[in-house]
């Protein structure tokens, strides 16, 4: 450790002895939009401390003496932050140089820029500015140097962390399969799940297998985005302009090993070491939990202090921050008859109202949480005001937001900084506080606009966005890949029948359908085009026809809910508008059953829809979408089902009319 060494001492050391690190402040993705509209991704708070501080703390703890902070977006904010923090201080244990290059759009650009600037003198540690870790880097660096002696071409040691195939820390973006020669630690094969076009099988080149007595295939590691680089890495980036990401680099090196005369080594962290890059909501959630559970020790809330903020660590992994200044000043932690339990962190100066519940969540500093509020699996950042009787589940509320009374935020809802959510708002999308460049954003409240993701990009990128978009919500469902062997024929049948716990792909598909329909309705697109869109998403997610029927109907019926205002008045114009879609999908009795099942599922959950059921049935019946046999059969099956009792009753009058008018209707339908 070099805590007491001054800069002069550092200079007098031999060049090789200085451990250098490059910290890339930007994550070059829009995973955290709209929160990253105004703030660089490395300054987003995780457990009330910004990611960059976590990263720098770790680097200085693990023996790094000099770090280059590479900024490309929101540079002033990063500089400002550094100036204010202990890293800007002259006593800082870490010599931090800020490098600015606003033209960089990818990691590759950043590396090329660094190469041009010629600041790096030897082996260096490359980390993202959003890394949370406690691993000591020196042994890894040493190992890298040892391997370098044997293999002169060694360019990079990639650091992996153990995470079994169904580990919660296995974010889709980092789900990786690696083949390693155990003797030499050399990486032979590296494939990210999302980069593979075959979802069932992994194809390992025979050449790789036959060239040595044995290889080890690891499907139980994830990429930590930490790497130890030789000097040759920067020129390699410069020589190969197509290397945009670290992934490109790894892939390119493995493919052209001979031409580039470079190789990669793998290092797997032991169980006690922790490292993770917070590059998606999935990881955000996972790392937060890990930190609360103290896997990242000593980087835990009650240890990671800046003198003024001290956390109290209580039973059940609850952390409460206390003001160290006199308790009479405004920094108080009021907790009256409210329940705060299970893995929760509450920042100083926050106030929690009566009979509120906070579970598995992080609340920032100086937040005002009203009475009767329920916050679960959510992250409320500094300075938020949550008014009475709100429910916030699996959502993120950016700093200084105001959530109006009785709002319900759920299922991956993300509020950008300063959003003012109108009272009674219900939603699960991303909101931002200002219009920004486009002025066609939907307004939900005074300072609340629905964020639009770029859907103009190619399909594959769309998928990726979707995944990131929803993974705060879906991450608990472990994706079950069928593909045990050639002979296995399980799954398919049963999974068709009970759809209610929606699987990952169908969930994604459903989101796409909702998006398509919404946009279609707003822009008055022709329904034929929408059908085309839905069909293409169907193939993209491999959703069975029956599920398509069910989900499309659900999406249409759910659409009014996403709009502000009341449900019923919006329902009818939508039904009329989307009638061609009904006609396209609901073609045969089986599809009609699906349609009714969707109706039933939603009506049982939604009081307003329940009242509309008779009219809906009659509309669909009159449009020849449902025929009376199916309706009658469906209705008779509802009888005696205690859960569907209301539905049965509500539909009763229509059924009666249907039975009476049977003859007549038969004529009509012919």
């Amino acid at each position: 450790m070099s805590r007491n060494k001054s800069n002069k001492d550092l200079d007098s050391l031999k060049k090789e002895d200085v451990v250098q690190a490059v910290v890339v402040a930007d994550n070059f993705s829009d995973a955290f939009v709209p929160l990253t509209n105004e703030t660089p991704s490395c300054l987003l708070p995780l457990v009330n401390t910004c990611l960059l501080d976590h990263t720098l703390e770790w680097l200085s703890n693990s023996g790094v003496q000099e770090a280059f902070l590479f900024c490309s977006r929101h540079v002033e904010k990063v500089k400002e932050h550094i100036r204010k923090s202990k890293w800007g201080d002259s006593t800082s244990p870490l010599l931090l140089n800020t490098i600015v290059s606003e033209t960089c759009l990818t990691l590759g650009d950043a590396m090329r820029d660094l190469d041009a600037k010629g600041l790096i003198r030897g082996d260096f540690i490359l980390v993202m500015g959003d890394t949370v870790a406690n691993v000591n880097l020196l042994p890894i660096l040493e190992k890298h140097r040892k391997l370098q002696k044997v293999d002169k071409g060694l360019a990079m040691t990639v650091v992996y962390k153990y995470a079994g195939p169904s580990h919660v820390g296995r974010a889709p973006q980092d789900d990786v399969l690696v083949a390693v020669d155990k003797k030499t630690s050399k990486i032979l094969f590296h494939q990210k799940r999302i980069a593979s076009n075959d979802n069932k099988k992994v194809h390992i080149p025979m050449e790789v297998i036959l060239d040595r007595p044995s290889i080890d295939i690891y499907n139980d590691v994830i990429d930590t985005h930490v790497s130890i680089c030789s000097v040759s890495v920067l020129p390699l980036f410069s020589d190969n302009f197509d290397f945009q990401t670290r992934e490109d680099f790894i892939k390119g090196l493995l493919m052209n090993e001979e031409i580039l005369a470079s190789s990669l080594a793998a290092y797997c962290l032991s169980d006690r070491e922790y490292a993770a890059s917070v590059n998606s909501w999935h990881m955000y959630k996972n790392v937060t939990q890990n930190m609360i559970h103290r896997w990242t020790f000593p980087l835990v809330p009650d240890m990671f202090t800046n003198e003024k903020e001290i956390y109290q660590y209580l039973r059940g992994n609850v952390y409460k921050q206390h003001p160290v200044t006199l308790a009479s000043v405004e920094c108080f932690l009021y907790i009256r008859s409210s329940i705060i339990e299970d893995d929760t962190v509450i920042g100083g100066g926050s106030e929690v109202g009566e009979s509120s519940t906070i579970r598995r969540s992080v609340v920032g500093r100086n937040c005002h949480i009203g009475n009767g509020v329920k916050i679960e699996d959510s992250y409320v950042w500094d300075g938020c005001i949550i008014k009475d009787n709100c429910t916030i589940q699996r959502s993120v509320v950016g700093s200084n937001c105001v959530v109006g009374e009785g709002s319900v935020l759920s299922q991956g809802c993300i509020l950008g900084q300063g959003v003012q959510c109108p009272p009674g708002y219900t939603g699960n999308t991303r909101l931002q506080s200002c219009q920004g460049d486009d002025d066609d954003l939907d307004m939900v409240g005074d300072a609340a606009y629905i964020v639009k993701l770029d859907n103009d990009d190619s399909d594959s990128e769309d998928d990726e966005n979707q995944q990131i978009w929803s993974d705060l919500y879906c991450s608990n469902q472990i994706e079950e890949v069928d593909g045990d062997s050639d002979e296995s024929s399980e799954m398919s049948d049963e999974s068709d029948r009970s759809i209610s716990p929606v699987l990952d792909d169908t969930k994604l598909f459903y989101n796409e359908v909702v998006d398509s329909l919404k946009r279609g309705y707003e822009d008055k697109l022709h329904c034929d085009n929408l059908i085309l869109e839905i069909n293409s998403s169907r193939y993209a997610y491999n959703v069975s026809m029956r599920e398509v029927n069910l989900l499309v109907v659900k999406a249409i019926l759910n659409l009014p809910k996403l709009e502000s205002g009341s449900y019923l008045p919006q329902l009818w114009p939508l039904q009329t508008y989307f009638m061609p879609i009904y006609k396209n999908y609901i073609r045969n009795p089986t599809a009609q059953i699906d349609c009714l099942q969707a109706l039933q599922e939603l009506a049982m959950a939604e009081q307003e829809l329940l009242t509309a059921v008779p009219k809906l049935l009659s509309v669909l019946y009159n449009q020849d979408i449902l025929n009376e046999e199916v309706i009658l059969k469906w209705h008779s099956e509802l009888e005696g089902d205690s859960e569907a009792e209301d539905l049965y009753k509500v539909a009763g009058p229509f059924i009666k009319w249907l039975e009476e008018a049977e003859v007549e209707s038969e004529d009509e339908s012919d």
Partner: protein
């Protein structure tokens, strides 16, 4: 505690049969990869240090504590083998099963099927050409511990240091061994993949489901399969039904290894289907003993972590593989190259391989008049070595005669061979009944059974045999 453990891993039948395992030695092979030397005698009787080859695996079984073994032989070789083994002082009781002639080629699985009635417990199948000093115990433990269907026994071949080895006698052949691709779960030793390298062209496709179950997989491409297989009794029963599976290595084992990951097909309602036509699924055979099926659900032990699957991932069929670590010796003598090489090495590893058996260097019944017989030369019964001869690192069988002024080094000479005066034999293999004429020089040569090498000839790297034998090859 240990009693319970033992009980737990014994199937019901085991309690009735004294031995937990039955050993089966497969000795009906013709040696199709080394026909040059097997024309005269069955492959399993080829001499290695003047002992028949099959003696080594039998000795190994004895060492591992087996008291009985079933030896499967071809019908026409039974008496010959029996006679040869009776001279060997083995304490293990041997039960010979002769495969009737008529069928041209008995596969290893066919042979096992044939003796089905003799199989009363789990089986250890050993090939008659396997020589090792490694213990079978770790593999047996693996088999017991996991209630495995099959356990295979692999060795890491010794790294051949270039230059030190003499060439294999006979004409140069392109030696291209078949290579297996073996995938083993590094944490549990589960055998997950068994295939031949030649089955794949550019890439090896691995299913993600498989990698999910076995997240850390080790793929080996240069392992030596010892052909020691430990088979659960039901596997033999399954073989009886599945007659199409002819060989163990080529057909049965890859099939079972593949079947591990599949689920039993849904039971068809018995009444509606015609019983005669439906074959029993392999899962009908793969039944755990009642005890194990009771123990497993309540046991807390698990062989993997990170998911909610049961022990063994709920697989009913489980294959395991044991790889011998360290410096153990192991070799399968199934090629000419291997035969030549084992003869050169056997004396150095004799102690380890035979478990301390006394090595008879010069048989008491031999008449050695030569003064130049070095320590690494063996002489068989009734052999006469005349004066003025020199022998280096050679094995000379029974009833041979070597005349004066002859030098022999690095040679294997089988029985009833006559070498006349003034010969120089270097690195040669001489089969039974060969006669070498006077003043002949042979280097790196193979001489087929009963062939007579003309006097005064010089041969280098050749295979010399009577024409009918050559035709066959």
């Amino acid at each position: 505690m240990s009693y319970v453990m033992v009980q737990m891993f014994m199937s019901d039948d085991d309690i009735m049969v004294a031995g937990e395992f039955q050993a089966v030695v497969l000795a009906a092979g013709h040696g199709s990869r080394m026909t040059e030397v097997t024309a005269g005698r069955p492959k399993c009787l080829l001499p290695i240090a003047n002992m028949p080859m099959i003696w080594y695996p039998l000795r190994m079984l004895e060492r591992e504590g087996f008291q009985d073994a079933i030896v499967i032989v071809a019908d026409n070789t039974k008496s010959e083998i029996q006679a040869a083994l009776e001279k060997c002082n083995l304490s293990i009781r041997l039960d010979y099963a002769a495969l009737p002639p008529g069928k041209e080629d008995w596969g290893t699985a066919d042979s096992l099927q044939f003796i089905n009635e003799k199989i009363k417990s789990d089986v250890v199948v050993v090939s008659s050409d396997f020589i090792t000093d490694a213990s079978l115990y770790p593999a047996l433990e693996l088999f017991r511990k996991n209630e495995a269907a099959v356990t295979m026994f692999f060795l890491k071949p010794a790294e051949v240091s270039a230059g030190d080895s003499l060439p294999t006698p006979g004409p140069k052949t392109k030696h291209k061994p078949e290579r297996d691709l073996v995938g083993i779960n590094a944490d549990t030793s589960r055998l997950v993949l068994l295939a031949s390298v030649s089955d794949f062209d550019e890439t090896l496709p691995l299913s993600r489901g498989l990698l999910r179950k076995h997240p850390h997989l080790q793929l080996y491409s240069r392992l030596l399969d010892s052909h020691v297989y430990i088979l659960r009794k039901w596997v033999c029963e399954f073989l009886v039904q599945e007659r199409s599976l002819g060989t163990l290595k080529g057909e049965l084992l890859p099939y079972i290894v593949r079947k591990q990951s599949s689920k039993p097909t849904q039971k068809v309602e018995d009444a509606s289907t015609i019983r005669g036509n439906t074959k029993n699924d392999i899962f009908q055979f793969a039944k755990e003993s009642t005890l194990v099926s009771k123990v497993l659900p309540i046991s807390l032990s698990n062989d993997h972590w990170g998911d909610m699957k049961g022990t063994f991932q709920d697989d009913k069929i489980r294959c395991y593989a044991h790889i011998v670590e360290g410096t153990s010796f192991g070799m399968r003598v199934n090629t000419l190259q291997a035969y030549a090489s084992i003869n050169r090495e056997i004396l150095q590893i004799w102690e380890k391989v035979t478990g301390g058996n006394v090595l008879v260097r010069l048989h008491p019944g031999a008449e050695v008049k030569s003064t130049q017989v070095d320590d690494s030369t063996l002489v068989g019964e009734g052999t006469l070595l005349n004066e003025k001869t020199s022998f280096k690192s050679s094995t000379i069988g029974a009833s041979c005669t070597v005349m004066s002024r002859t030098r022999i080094s690095n040679c294997v000479i089988m029985n009833n061979v006559k070498v006349n005066e003034g010969c120089v034999l270097t690195n040669c293999i001489l089969c039974d009944g060969v006669e070498v004429g006077a003043n002949t020089e042979l280097k790196d040569c193979l001489v087929g059974a009963k062939h007579t090498v003309g006097a005064g000839d010089k041969h280098n790297q050749e295979f010399l045999a009577d024409e009918d034998v050559l035709m066959e090859i």
